[in-house]
Symmetry: C2
Subunit: 425 residues, 2 copies
């Protein structure tokens, strides 16, 4: 009897079915082996292709997802595959089977946020995804638990590690964009499809998840005004250096006076005093601003297999004490909406001046037009950026200024005299 009790006591509490054995999957496997205190074991690993040579015993692998999903011993599914559509099917099936799920798949979560919330409510089964935003930084749990929605005013940060790595290399070593991207890929900081990172889509996915946990605002990532860093060039970096600033890909959300949220993901000039200027390489950083608590700054590794594995591990540990996201803010803040009715101060440069649509600006503060090359610093309505595509064409680079957002329509009151004086209307 005593022996039986001992066996029960020693049986790992968490029996894990792991989907995916890429860089993060491998790291999670290794980390779990080295963390006996977690009392978790990996029972089965679901993969696409059994042909590859792998470093652990073959019989742990299966290509049959149902061998894992229907295994009654397995009580946690850790989903770490690339394909967001397949991932969604796995996560849905797991929740419906009553198996808790840990994932780091931001694309899948952002695309199916409402359905995944509903599924959790319906089944009472937790889905945790701390690794989906800012990898190792425990940001989702802090936003979910610590900040009252009424009091939170703003979140802004660097939430994509590979673009930050690329910009850091370009700035410090004078690398071209493509060289720096290659380095990021070689070090495992970029997604398999790097376009997701460098066009800002990955940051928009993450921002949409953060918005839900910070402000209770659930939106599709596509509705966010976003762009990436692929058009940042040496000239832009020299311009930043002259201003004693840096260029970072910034995700930003702040409450406007009307209670709505203004959001964007854009490259932005950052002053040296800004904490985000000290976030280098694959690190991420997030600043919250709230009434009473004032500013908080969180910094940690935002890309790489081990930091993501650390977040996955902390989610598995949290399942031990029955932790689940309660999505309290979503229920409490049913009416919080995005707004594109705000103005942005931006710097736009182009290989040919005429590519810049000066007419779109409310106000132009400075411009250059030399030998075809051109640059404009001015104020533009967010709606115009969302609707227009001129600033997304090849050779045009748009960078938000440090003090980017203004809620006031003051700029409208300024006549277009500045444009006229400049002879460009």
């Amino acid at each position: 009897m005593l022996q039986l009790e001992n066996e029960i006591a020693q049986k790992p509490k968490h029996c894990i079915g792991l989907f995916g054995y890429g860089t993060v999957g491998k790291a999670v496997y290794d980390v779990i082996q080295k963390t006996p205190g977690l009392q978790a074991c990996i029972q089965k690993i679901g993969i696409k292709d059994t042909g590859k040579k792998r470093n652990i015993q073959d019989d742990i692998f299966t290509t049959d997802a149902f061998e894992i999903l229907n295994n009654s011993c397995i009580n946690i599914i850790v989903e770490l595959i690339d394909d967001a559509d397949v991932a969604y099917k796995i996560v849905k099936a797991a929740l419906l089977q009553g198996k808790a799920v840990v994932t780091a798949n931001k694309k899948m979560i952002a695309a199916h946020f409402n359905e995944l919330c509903q599924l959790q409510k319906q089944t009472g089964t937790p889905l945790l995804y701390e690794g989906a935003c800012c990898a190792s930084i425990p940001i989702i749990r802090n936003l979910e638990e610590y900040y009252d929605t009424d009091l939170l005013l703003k979140i802004r940060g660097i939430i994509n590690g590979s673009t930050n790595f690329i910009l850091s290399r370009m700035e410090k070593e004078g690398l071209e964009f493509t060289e720096a991207l290659l380095q990021a890929q070689q070090l495992g900081f970029a997604e398999n499809n790097p376009a997701l990172d460098i066009d800002g889509h990955d940051a928009a996915n993450k921002l949409s998840i953060l918005l839900a946990h910070a402000f209770g605002c659930v939106i599709k990532p596509e509705t966010i005004l976003y762009s990436g860093i692929s058009k940042i060039n040496g000239e832009d970096l020299r311009c930043a250096s002259q201003r004693k600033q840096k260029i970072k890909l910034i995700a930003h959300a702040q409450k406007l006076k009307n209670g709505k949220l203004a959001t964007y993901v854009l490259p932005q000039f950052i002053t040296k005093e800004d904490e985000l200027a000290g976030v280098h390489d694959e690190f991420n950083g997030l600043i919250t601003e709230s009434h009473y608590a004032d500013r908080h700054f969180f910094k940690g590794k935002g890309a790489g297999a081990l930091p993501t594995a650390a977040a996955v591990l902390s989610d598995i540990a949290a399942l031990r004490y029955g932790y689940k996201y309660e999505y309290k803010k979503i229920d409490a803040q049913k009416n919080i909406k995005l707004s594109n009715d705000y103005y942005l101060k931006v710097y736009v440069s182009a290989d040919v001046f005429s590519k810049i649509n000066c007419q779109a600006f409310e106000y132009i503060e400075e411009y250059q037009n030399q030998y075809g090359y051109g640059a404009v610093t001015g104020v533009i309505h967010a709606e115009k950026l969302l609707e227009d595509t001129w600033w997304k064409q090849s050779g045009v680079s748009l960078i938000a200024c440090p003090e980017a957002i203004t809620q006031e329509a003051d700029y409208k009151k300024i006549s277009r005299r500045s444009l006229e004086l400049a002879g460009i209307t």
Copy 2:
């Protein structure tokens, strides 16, 4: 019937008895009035002296603690008084009555940690104290929930806002220590008894609380090697400036190779690359280092009534969903112990060279002895600092070097030749 249901629905879920109406107590009162989403109301406020003029209705105040503790309507006690002994009695009585408690009293918690854990276990009633460490930064909950003890290697940070404010003013404005202290007191950043802050005792209290939540190590704060900043002078700051470094009061804990913990609270030279160098004024900052997750940095306001009130508020909000500290690491890590068997590299300056006990050093790297004024940079065993008092006398200032701790006894192997050469043995 419907009306009754409405009344029940509208009745605040949290009925609070507040002890203390000083700067933090007032701030908590105000913040709760302005946060309707919290569904909390303050029923009674316990004070020492009814004679003072206060800005709210008189009948909310009482000098009879039992009027609050025995009030069955009140389900949460928020304890914010200065006197740690009285605070302990209130908290103990409240927990025994089954009332959840929120406090920010680090001295009381540090002094009675074991008893308070026991009381919570015995009564099943939660005691939360996020505001006790680093004011507004949600550091206790992150240490408690996010980091596996096996994986956490080190925590270090600036955890006392008033000393950081004083050092910042001394550095930036060239103020003398006493002038800077006066400014801190005027702005409400210093404790009523500033000695607790400036002699490092407050930081030692906080570090002892952090050690329990980070490493499961419960110790009395007096056992920590600590000192404060009252002897930091203009000469020390000039020395820091020459090295392109800053002086900060640093709380430090790291695992040694033998699994024990080395800890100290000491003024320390900080390089410009260190995140803590960017923590100014009343801000606090904490860095964690762990396997896999690597480095995390948290920064936020560490002193002031509103930031502390924000943390108290977040604890009240956490009680809504039944949050309590589980002290899992304490149960799991029964044997983790402090060790003073390590070496520290320090810089000691003195108005009279002979006040420096050169014999105490294992190794002296540099020394100055001019016109009586003296300074020594060298390596010393932690035990010697704990046992000796020469470095605590007036006119002597000890500052840890950036790379302070070494676990190796390599220094022992080095002969005392350096001392002999210097002619000071």
